[in-house]
């Protein structure tokens, strides 16, 4: 273990008024700077995280940068490797759900769920872009009805996902 120099105070020194003023000024400058960073950064960079349905229902979101989440329709995925453009469709998933996998599955099965075309430019096609993946996109809905995304994130398939009952086991009781 390291040796410790525990120095008991001999003559506790009180800071002079000028020094104290310096500490207070530095504290105020730092506090104001950090607050400025947080407030101005948040005002510039904040965007609503909404559902596909919210985006399509509220015209005030048109051409505004927002973050949306939806379930990917696998058959709609089209990648132009020459131009590095990804096109695909997502469907609305509710903002509240108990189990993501079930929410994604139900969303892609629902013919009445709100759908949205997505375009991502100058991007490599992500491995996780597949049917029933959850796409989290940042971008803006354009007047032509296409959501132009500047950022595309996809949820990894279930690292900490709960186990679901395997269908094969319950369906073949005679094997037991």
């Amino acid at each position: 273990m390291a040796d410790v120099n525990w120095e008991k105070p001999k003559n506790p020194e009180k800071p002079k008024r000028r020094e104290r003023l310096k500490f207070i000024s530095a504290g105020v400058v730092i506090l104001v700077s950090v607050l400025y960073l947080l407030v101005s950064g948040t005002l510039q960079g904040a965007r609503y995280f909404i559902t596909v349905a919210d985006l399509l229902e509220d015209p005030s979101y048109l051409e505004r940068t927002v973050r949306i989440s939806g379930a990917v329709i696998g058959e709609s995925i089209d990648y132009d490797s020459e131009q590095a453009i990804i096109r695909f469709e997502i469907v609305n998933i509710p903002s509240q759900y108990d189990d993501l996998a079930s929410a994604l599955h139900q969303a892609v099965q629902d013919p009445l769920a709100a759908r949205l075309q997505v375009l991502v430019e100058d991007a490599a096609i992500p491995d996780l872009l597949q049917h029933e993946a959850q796409a989290i996109l940042t971008g803006a809905l354009q007047r032509d009805g296409v959501f132009q995304a500047t950022e595309l994130l996809l949820k990894c398939p279930s690292r900490f996902e709960e186990s679901t009952a395997p269908e094969g086991l319950s369906q073949i009781p005679e094997h037991l």
């Binding site: 609503y48 490599a124 690292r159 395997p166």
Partner: protein, 680 residues
């Protein structure tokens, strides 16, 4: 049988933790040595019990016991043995058991090393460690049992239970093998074999300093003992957390195929937050040791670091925050939130109580604005500001907006960069100025004199960068600031060794070795600063000067990218030993017309998803990083990145770890310097 033994060991460990908590508390309160000793033994026994439980799960994973739902979820018959073993931490339930095992191992180490030296603190510390372990084991037993098995109930339904339900039978092995899901392909990387254990060692390790801090508050023994032991354990936890963070970055760089290593994702940030608080504590603890100041603040930092660990565990395992890392909305969320809140409130309550009694008063006051202690306080302010900014963007803003506005508001990586870049600049400047300042008093003239040489070298570096054609002013300034911190660290080492050479007549190498041997913490710290400098250079180079292009090439065709060229040579399909098909492209990297490397970017086809595996030609200067986007025998599309200086991020990380190891290494023999005169 494996599951029964594992379950019994888990239950035994849980009972031992409960007993150890109460026995230790009773022993401490009643000054009863027998109870204290009994609590200590029970706490020590949790480690072998959990070793047995984890051992059973590992055997089940290795021997393909698919009836265990955990084995069924994270492996399949084609999973190689190496990934069968690492699957122990591949999903929620296994990782919770692994967390508990590591916590019991840390507790075992703390008791073995500190029982004699910290007799007054130990019973309280054991109670705190055991209460934390009891919580995790309780979750494993009740909510996330790793020994749960598949059963076919009397009505033919598959059910998951730890104990056999009435009338149920076990499924056949063939049907289990056919349905087993296999490990997430993203986790099949060597980095993922080491990254989670390192990260967990860091997280779990911070429980020990917290336990000693709480023990000091509970016992009233607020002398230097708790700080000495806490600082050492904090350094150990800090090394592991640093390794975990660096390996996480490396894994993202190698596996996720976006040419980057840090995305400001909430899960990454959750691991970074305790690191920031821990770093602040490691620095401010020195002020308390040297000057008897910041007692309240240091205690607060230790509590805040543990609290950040627990909050991170809650946020990332509960599914409350959307992250690219997948976390199902799990039942562990609410208990974790409750435990985090309870532990934080108890600790803060005890802290306020002791402070109110005047037991945490500083022995000295800050007398000079330019003194080293003032610089350390400023350094703490920067780390806390970084913590607040990252916590705000990752958690507070999304949660608060959802609660108060009814809509979630988030920020992206660019806003995080806006927050943190000025704060990192301040951190590097302080890393340069603080070591040159003196404890107690420092005049502006003396500090200015000491700063002259490193400042001049930094300005010369900026000028040299501009002369060699670095056209990004921001990057040149950034390099100047980062190098300033590095020059000061080198200057201090040079000055220290030079002083020994002059006064003791030692050879340069001996002087250097003696310098590090005599003051490990100080000079180990300078190596850490050098590591952070090297990381800073790598981060600036790889973010400001990154090149990213995409090209489709015919076989035999060459394309120029920066100073390099890429030639597409061949395309093959092959099958790996575990059965996955691979699309492999052979490409040649050229520079000035000469072939310098042959790399093989490929795509592996796992049943769950394809995996793009980058091919890279790595040098200290840069990484030529190539992804195969789509391929065929005649034409293939590649995404090409040139990441300048990116390897310095990893090398800087290694330097940081070496420096911390030097600083934390136990001092065995205090060396007595031999005067030159005496020697002669």
């Amino acid at each position: 049988m494996l599951a029964e033994i594992g379950l019994a060991a888990l239950a035994l460990a849980f009972l031992l933790t409960i007993y150890a908590t109460f026995a230790s508390l009773a022993g401490a309160r009643a000054h009863a040595a027998r109870w204290r000793e009994s609590g200590r033994r029970a706490a020590l026994l949790t480690f072998p019990a959990l070793l047995l439980a984890a051992g059973m799960l590992i055997i089940a994973l290795m021997t393909e016991q698919y009836q265990l739902t955990y084995v069924y979820e994270v492996t399949d018959p084609r999973t190689p043995p190496f990934y069968r073993f690492t699957a122990l931490w591949g999903s929620q339930r296994g990782s919770l058991l692994f967390w508990s095992l590591l916590l019991s191992a840390f507790t075992f180490g703390a008791i073995s090393l500190n029982w004699r030296s910290e007799r007054r603190l130990m019973p309280y510390a054991i109670a705190c460690m055991m209460a934390t372990l009891a919580f995790f084991l309780g979750m494993s037993l009740i909510l996330e049992n790793p020994f749960e098995r598949w059963w076919i109930s009397a009505d033919g339904q598959a059910v998951a239970r730890a104990l056999i339900p009435a009338g149920a039978t076990a499924p056949t092995e063939a049907s289990l093998r056919a349905g087993a899901e296999g490990l997430n392909p993203l986790l099949r990387h060597f980095g993922m074999a080491i990254h989670p254990p390192m990260l967990y060692l860091g997280f779990v390790g911070f429980t020990i300093p917290f336990a000693f801090a709480l023990a000091a508050l509970a016992s009233g023994d607020l002398s230097s003992g708790w700080l000495r032991v806490t600082r050492r354990w904090s350094l150990i936890a800090w090394i592991f957390l640093s390794i975990g963070l660096i390996l996480g970055g490396r894994w993202a760089y190698d596996v996720l195929g976006w040419g980057g290593y840090w995305g400001w994702d909430p899960v990454e940030n959750a691991a970074f937050l305790p690191w920031l608080m821990g770093t602040a504590f490691i620095h401010s603890a020195m002020i308390q040791e040297k000057r008897g100041m910041l007692k309240l603040w240091n205690m607060f930092l230790v509590i805040a670091t543990f609290s950040a660990v627990m909050f991170g565990a809650f946020a990332t395992r509960s599914g409350v925050i959307d992250s690219v890392h997948s976390f199902a909305r799990s039942e562990v969320g609410f208990p974790m939130l409750a435990f985090w809140a309870a532990m934080t409130l108890i600790a803060l309550g005890a802290l306020l109580w002791r402070w109110n009694r005047g037991e945490l008063r500083d022995e000295q006051q800050f007398a000079n604005f330019l003194s080293r202690e003032s610089m350390f306080v400023l350094n703490n302010v920067v780390f806390v500001a970084l913590f607040i900014a990252i916590f705000w963007g990752s958690f507070a803003l999304p949660i608060a907006s959802e609660l108060f506005l009814g809509k979630e508001v988030t920020i992206g990586p660019e806003t995080f960069e806006f927050y943190v870049v000025p704060l990192f600049i301040a951190m590097y400047i302080l890393m340069g100025v603080a070591p040159l300042s003196a404890w107690g008093r420092m005049s502006a003239a003396r500090l200015g004199g000491a700063l002259k040489l490193p400042l001049m070298l930094s300005l010369l570096s900026i000028a040299a960068l501009i002369l060699i054609g670095t056209n990004a002013a921001v990057a040149s300034f950034g390099y100047g600031v980062v190098l300033f911190a590095g020059f000061v660290a080198l200057y201090e080492i040079y000055r220290g060794a030079g002083a020994r050479r002059r006064s003791l007549g030692e050879s340069p190498l001996r002087a250097l070795a003696a310098l590090f041997g005599r003051n490990q913490r100080r000079y180990g710290g300078y190596i850490v600063h050098l590591g952070v400098t090297v990381i800073g250079i790598g981060v600036i180079g790889s973010t400001v000067f990154q090149t990213e292009v995409q090209h489709t090439l015919a076989r035999g065709e060459t394309v120029a990218v920066g100073a390099y060229a890429l030639r597409y040579d061949e395309f093959t399909r092959a099958q790996a030993v575990d059965g996955r098909m691979m699309s492999i492209s052979d490409v040649t990297v050229l520079r000035d017309g000469a072939e310098i490397a042959r790399i093989r970017p490929r795509v592996d086809e796992f049943p769950q998803m394809p995996m793009t595996i980058a091919g890279a030609h790595s040098t200290l200067e840069n990484d030529f990083y190539v992804l195969l986007i789509s391929g065929g025998r005649e034409r293939a599309t590649f995404r090409i990145y040139i990441n300048p200086l990116v390897n310095l991020v990893w090398w800087g990380g290694i330097l940081l770890i070496i420096g911390t190891a030097i600083a934390a290494y136990p001092k065995v023999l205090p060396e007595r310097p031999q005067r030159k005169r005496e020697a002669s």
